[in-house]
Point group: C2
Chain length 327, copies 2
């Protein structure tokens, strides 16, 4: 029996279970929206990270705590939501002792202060398997204003925050598959180990962006999710994709790394569909939080993702990370 | 380094992270409360179940789906909440194929109809470890009326729904440690494999019970949680604890099984602190949903759990299930 990809499993088996819950958006968006009071909606996101799959098995408790919380905060930012609270489900292998839990909790406390979020509840269990953490984060947003993947309109421009590809290259550095000069290696590895969710910009995007998603699966995949969910085609130009200096050097040395950059994932930047008339507002909001934003393409009628370079269309080998690579 | 128990870990490391979030009740209750509109609160509960820990490794996808959802619904019932929606985080080992996912989703769909709840979102990942499922269920309750563990008052009577111990005995049947006659074995095993959360009674308890908890860790443990969280002492009489006929016979044959009955857990019944003046209302509400309720003790000033039998105080060897048995 063949194995369906993750998104295919969701479409076939789980999306039907969400029919009738308007805030699930047919599971096309990462976030679920719960109507709260007349002024607010709650934005809810669940993410699971597993040792050896989503982070290195020997990662420190500090970095694991940060990753578990921040990958969810990244989705709340994409939804335009302010963080409120989170549920923490921790499946601990017997090898992790109380000292580990203490360090993990200290790192959560630091991130709670940084992102103004509080623990609301959770579950702690033992597992014979690897350390596994599920965070369900809850944010809030003005009623009916949460950004979804599905809101892009033809003519919107495609924007991205920060730089792309650093984390995917950083994973290769951390696993000794890539050996750039020391200072570049350090930068890339840090970008892999410590996601910086764009929580300061996220809530400012309400009224500016028509749609948003965070870049977790890979730029091409996540841009594709927005286009798909919005029923549009997206065209993007590889030359316009913002790269850090270490990433730029890496692809200059090894052009084959472009695929890692564009499809590697773990960027935790945001991709945005912004109408041209809101460009100035976007640039102003980004400047206010000292974040780079770059226009890299546009949405049009049609379907699919087109990647161009030097005026030519590029073949896309893979679009991004899929937890269930098909057959 | 010694290992702290689960509740000790929560008290030491996680409760401080919930300080400042009023709806977390200092993590003393299972549920978290989120203020929604002027009329409603949302009640949120997260539970993780792991193959080989919380259910048998060879359990069917149907029973696993039911268990994952129902253990959370049991907590919502204890909070007096109506189910609304749930987030599903699924960590799948490579051994489970699409056929498994399809059967799992069908069982969820059936339970969604039964309990009037919808999927709102989630995450699906691969794990090199055992199947692991985290459900975060969201219910709703009238503003400020959610039942907590911490609301019991001195003089309240202790009530329990249904019968106690069946599931713990059923686990022993399922693992061939106990061999009662066939019809009794079938009943007990079914009680272990298919939790029946008391969702019909739960919301009716608002205005009747001062405090509630579901019996998941074990009767003694969960009654103790209510007493602790409420800053009270609880005295209960073993003779009054309602047993099914198969459970009654099992402890008659093997009196050592009393400890399994009282501390085994997985009952998914409710324990309630009810003031004597609301006894008639409780009996009426229970009758309306055809559920047995039994008075088994009372809350008084003081601390701790006292178990009595035939007028004598019994020693309590263990109170219940702890995922992290101490040293």
């Amino acid at each position: 029996m063949s194995r369906a990809g993750e998104f295919e499993l969701i479409r076939r088996y789980f999306a039907p279970l969400a029919r009738g819950f308007p805030g699930a958006d047919g599971l096309r968006s990462d976030n679920a929206i719960f109507a709260a009071d007349g002024r607010r909606d709650l934005v809810v996101k669940t993410d699971t990270i597993v040792a050896g799959v989503h982070f290195l098995a020997d990662e420190t408790p500090q970095r694991i705590a940060e990753k578990a919380l921040r990958v969810c905060l990244s989705d709340l930012a994409a939804g335009g939501a302010h963080p409120v609270a989170y549920q923490l489900a921790l499946a601990l292998p017997g090898s992790l002792n109380e000292r580990w839990v203490a360090a993990f909790a200290r790192a959560l406390a630091a991130d709670q202060r940084r992102y103004k979020i509080l623990l609301s509840g959770g579950d702690t269990v033992r597992t014979p398997g690897p350390l596994s953490i599920t965070v369900t984060a809850v944010g809030q947003v003005a009623r009916g204003r949460a950004l979804l993947r599905s809101g892009a309109r033809a003519g919107d421009q495609l924007w991205v925050t920060g730089t792309i590809g650093d984390a995917a290259l950083g994973l290769r550095v951390a696993t000794d598959q890539l050996k750039p000069p020391t200072d570049e290696a350090r930068f890339l590895e840090d970008r892999f180990r410590r996601p910086r969710p764009r929580t300061a910009l996220g809530p400012q995007l309400i009224g500016i962006a028509h749609a948003a998603a965070d870049v977790s699966d890979g730029l091409l995949a996540d841009v594709g999710h927005v286009a798909n969910a919005s029923g549009l085609r997206v065209t993007m130009d590889r030359e316009l994709v913002p790269l850090s200096r270490p990433a730029r050097r890496a692809v200059q040395r090894l052009p084959g790394l472009w695929s890692t950059v564009l499809a590697g994932g773990d960027d935790y930047e945001l991709v945005l569909a912004v109408p041209p008339r809101r460009e100035a507002a976007l640039l102003k909001a980004a400047r206010a939080v000292r974040l780079l934003v770059t226009r890299i393409g546009r949405f049009d009628r049609g379907r699919g993702v087109e990647l161009r370079s030097g005026g030519r269309k590029l073949a896309i080998e893979r679009t991004g990370w899929d937890h269930f690579p098909g057959k």
